[in-house]
Symmetry: C2
Subunit: 189 residues, 2 copies
């Protein structure tokens, strides 16, 4: 099957947007494996940031994540925070991507997250055996990278300026939502 994105297509911003919005199971209808192999770490991070943008546009918390197979570079799961969208007291970018991926062996995958993980998610990523975690923003939040490293997870910082700007804007505009997402409603009393 011919796909819109193949070996000869430029890796454009429009391509990354389309990948972010396409359901994971339907990605093979949009791009083939040749295209996937040409995506850089910065491209996957940009996809996570576009997922964060999607959540922001829906009135939610702008944090996205993408899970990639280390060997094939195929996207196995992706998602964004759904505190507002699903009225969910703990559904961060990372858990959203894990739910999307389902029951797979995360030991052969890398997770790209647009924001430094909270302590719950850092514990989750280490207990699900992730090989590597790439963090797109340690400017607005940080602190769990040592925890991940101490448990044998490789951590790379690959900051995305657009993602950092987006999260800073969200925090300035909706500080209570930001606090609730990190520490729960009880912390906002």
């Amino acid at each position: 099957m011919d796909t819109l994105l193949d070996a000869s297509t430029p890796v454009s911003e429009a391509a990354l947007v389309a990948i972010a919005y396409m359901p994971t199971r339907s990605l093979p209808t949009l791009m083939n494996d040749d295209f996937a192999r040409r995506l850089s770490d910065a491209d996957f991070m940009r996809i996570a940031v576009w997922l964060a943008q999607k959540s922001f546009d829906e009135g939610g918390c702008p944090i996205g994540a993408v899970i990639v197979d280390n060997a094939t570079r195929r996207i196995l799961g992706k998602g964004h925070n759904t505190l507002v969208q699903e009225n969910h007291p703990y559904h961060h970018g990372e858990t959203s991507a894990l739910r999307d991926a389902g029951r797979i062996d995360f030991g052969r995958t890398t997770l790209f997250t647009s924001l430094s993980p909270c302590e719950i998610c850092a514990t989750l990523l280490s207990m699900r055996g992730f090989c590597r975690v790439v963090v797109g923003d340690v400017t607005n939040a940080s602190g769990t990278e040592p925890l991940l490293k101490a448990r044998g997870v490789r951590v790379d910082i690959l900051e995305d300026a657009r993602g950092i700007e987006l999260y800073a804007r969200f925090r300035a505009e909706k500080p209570e939502l930001d606090l609730e997402d990190w520490k729960g409603l009880s912390a906002t009393r």
Copy 2:
């Protein structure tokens, strides 16, 4: 409205089963506040165990949880592990009950769990500000109680013999599922 369970109804095993299976939002059609106030901690734990039994009967991991308002003793959320049922790599009894409860202030609630929490869930419960956690089984698993206490969460052990027996049976019958639920598929390689 008259309800099946009211001030004069015995707190029977059949009543606890019906409460476990009734959707949380529909509980007021089954029992009124007078009945709720007569439920003991052991009764709420038994409801969590019935939710664990429901999950076991569906072929899943038998762990259930119930979130109760400290003042009114109303059930605000409940659920069970859905690793198998939702193909979900991290949806434990605790997260299931939290999702069911939605965005509420957990600082005024108690969570009853049929099994000692994993480290991810213990971190989650402390970061969502739970006032108290009641654990129904420290025989098949334990270890995160000190973490919870160190973060100011009151922890009570209230073991339920039926829940303990059920989890031991599950672990003996499906050791790989038990391991995957705790540590992910990568740990089962």
